[in-house]
Symmetry: C2
């Protein structure tokens, strides 16, 4: 008999079906034994109503892999309105060890370190599984939106010869008899590929050797990168980002409704056009509305971002807010200045519920501008940049882009208090396994 | 005026349009000047028929970025049947340096090392660009097929604590004050995730520190990985792989026809079911048909694979052939034996036109089997495996999977003589940049 998923059971009332999955729970209620079977799609309740079945189940531990044949019966009391009767079990993979923590409670009780130590089984918990499954939805929505907008996917190398974006926070690799580094971002590669495809995106790992131990930092994460050419300025990049965010949210609502429901996710309000405020105006607003004078500061503090997030919500009903025109000094050397006000940049951050989610902007596109900018930053040795800068010698259109951290997106969407809960197998100062 | 792509020009005869792109070529034919403009979608011919336009173009070098407004005129003599008249040009990004090699010849003339040194501009050549664009098509077809089959995408860490698949060919990373390694494959992680999602796939980089200098090896490549649970045996894995290969080819034919045409790609014959031959039978066939006795050898030589590829083509009209049941000794320690003949494995290679393209098979799924297999291989220190093996303590269904090398697929599909031509920015013994 063809195996079906637990999610298909409700449409098979009156039929005998075959299921397979994990022994999620065994319960005894009012003298009746119930087995809850879990598979990739959900769970179903099995009434263990024959002595033969009971004998087979005796002593079985949670997570035993089973095949179950049984009759689908409508039962309003049962979760999902159906249950399986007259089951015949087959043990596919026995379990002899007790789990490090229960997987069948609605909430995961293990502490974070314990959970992470045993994530290889802990991720089977329906809530934790849903976090990771939503990652797949974010990636799918990201790619689909960009493919529809004429973008080409690329996969750029992660082993690089030189640390081109700040030398300190980079991991070194012994590459045969030479020194290599792990790419901190695909920044130069995606810019280079604008010269080839005009519009490109990449989904891939990035590596940051920042010795941070915070709830918002991990040392390897998945970056959703975009770069596009023939733009007017950063506003064209913001328009694409807006479509990408809306496309991701639409994909989640379309195809990941069970996960969102399980997690009680509060979907954000993402209007057609996200509101936007110019950096100096944001500082002025903070002074007027909250009495804090941060004018002249080169960046916004987290509290400032939270205030601005509140304001966007009240004023525009939007969970998203662009802050544009950050001062040049706080932006990377490839950032394009605002031609009308060159101390400020054609860049932006996208705040999501008052926390920075995305950074992006227009880039320099002329070779001489790269040389000048590098000189201004005091980069004396330009050899590491040579092969990248070559692109700009040979005609690059005005371009820009942005990057979204996959795990950050999930963390902020679900309101998780630690990014490690939104990460498959996190890497941090102390953790390299599993 | 809204910019359109060169590919849209043919549908705009009689209209004035705006284009943007790169100065691909300037030609003088019979006293008339032609400019060929290239953008992400193709090229179009512009007749430079006004003195003002000619003045602007004077001295412009190839790859100058231009915006062009002009009238679309049907012209049967022109490539594509249309050309642009009465153009007005605007230079967006000037070029002052001569290219390292021409990008506007039908075939790239540069030697491979020269090309690779300047790949950041060399990839703009239409043929080279098409190789990389087909990569995007392969990834899209891979993901779409698997998503339709109920697979969930994952992104697993590339920084790992231990070299679990052969210690020699692994790159070491200085990870704060510890030693880490770059993952040679997502093998264990994708198996672990079968316990969570049952069916998973990943597209991501893998790192091989093999000191090979061949036309078929690079040290970082993109691996298309699949793993699925609740299988009978390796034949269920082969069925999924067959659908994946056919899904990829269908996607290329649907959405990448211009690239396939430009490269004169000969699309392979991929029947509904790929033929299959058992390893010992393949050796017998080689003896009968080609007189070479390789019976008892643990593996097939490249010539054997070529013969078998010819045979599959003649006998079954298929460019693809499965060879199943490789001897256990030549397969990784997680390989599942053939229960009926335990010296042989429930594994397979997929030959594509007589060359191995994919390796896969059923894996061990019981904890004790892992311990036994590791012991048989003489692994004395199992600590590096501990966090991975934990999964198998807690109920793993029978499962298996495979991995396809993205660059290999493109190389074999297009009949390229060096994998570096199918790789965006190759990493090899001598090359770490660009």
């Amino acid at each position: 008999m063809e195996r079906i998923y637990t999610s298909e059971v409700a449409s098979r009332v009156g039929q005998r079906v075959r299921l397979a999955g994990w022994l999620h729970a065994l319960r005894r209620l009012g003298g009746i034994n119930f087995l809850v079977l879990r598979d990739a799609r959900g769970t179903v309740q099995v009434v263990v109503d024959t002595p033969e079945a009971l004998t087979i189940l005796e002593g079985l531990l949670p997570e035993t892999v089973l095949s179950v044949e049984g009759d689908v019966v409508a039962e309003p009391q049962a979760p999902g309105g159906v249950e399986i009767h007259a089951p015949q079990f087959e043990v596919l993979s026995p379990v002899r060890d007790a789990l490090p923590f229960p997987l069948n409670k609605p909430e995961m009780k293990a502490t974070l370190p314990t959970f992470l130590d045993h994530a290889t089984v802990g991720l089977r918990h329906p809530q934790r599984r849903a976090h990771i499954r939503l990652q797949a939805g974010v990636m799918a929505g990201f790619r689909a939106t960009l493919t529809n907008l004429g973008f080409t996917e690329i996969q750029t190398p992660k082993l690089v010869e030189a640390a081109t974006e700040g030398g300190a926070n980079v991991f070194g690799v012994k590459y045969f008899d030479r020194q290599a580094y792990l790419a901190q971002s695909p920044q130069f590669y995606k810019q280079i590929m604008v010269g080839v495809f005009e519009r490109v995106f990449e989904v891939g790992p990035v590596f940051r050797a920042e010795p941070h131990d915070t709830v918002r930092h991990i040392n390897e994460y998945v970056s959703l990168d975009v770069e596009l050419g023939f733009i007017r300025d950063h506003r064209d990049v913001m328009a694409v980002l807006t479509q990408v965010v809306r496309g991701i949210l639409a994909r989640l609502q379309e195809s990941y409704a069970p996960e969102l429901a399980l997690l009680n996710a509060k979907m954000p309000v993402a209007p057609d056009q996200f509101p936007s405020i110019y950096f100096p105006d944001a500082q002025e607003l903070i002074l007027q509305k909250w009495g804090e004078d941060c004018r002249g500061e080169p960046d916004l503090a987290p509290q400032h971002e939270r205030w601005l997030g509140e304001w966007a919500r009240q004023e525009y009903g939007s969970d998203f807010l662009f802050v544009t025109g950050y001062p040049m000094g706080k932006r990377p050397f490839y950032t394009h200045p605002n031609p009308a006000d060159p101390a400020f940049s054609n860049s932006f951050d996208l705040l999501f519920r008052g926390t920075e989610l995305v950074t992006g902007g227009q880039r320099l596109h002329l070779y001489q501008d790269y040389l000048d900018s590098a000189a201004r930053r005091g980069y004396t040795d330009l050899r590491p940049f040579e092969t990248y800068f070559e692109t700009f010698k040979y005609g690059m259109p005005p371009h820009g882009g942005f990057a979204i951290g996959l795990e950050r997106f999930i963390m902020q969407l679900l309101g998780l208090d630690n990014i490690r809960l939104a990460t498959l197998f996190p890497r941090d100062l102390t953790r390299l396994a599993p």
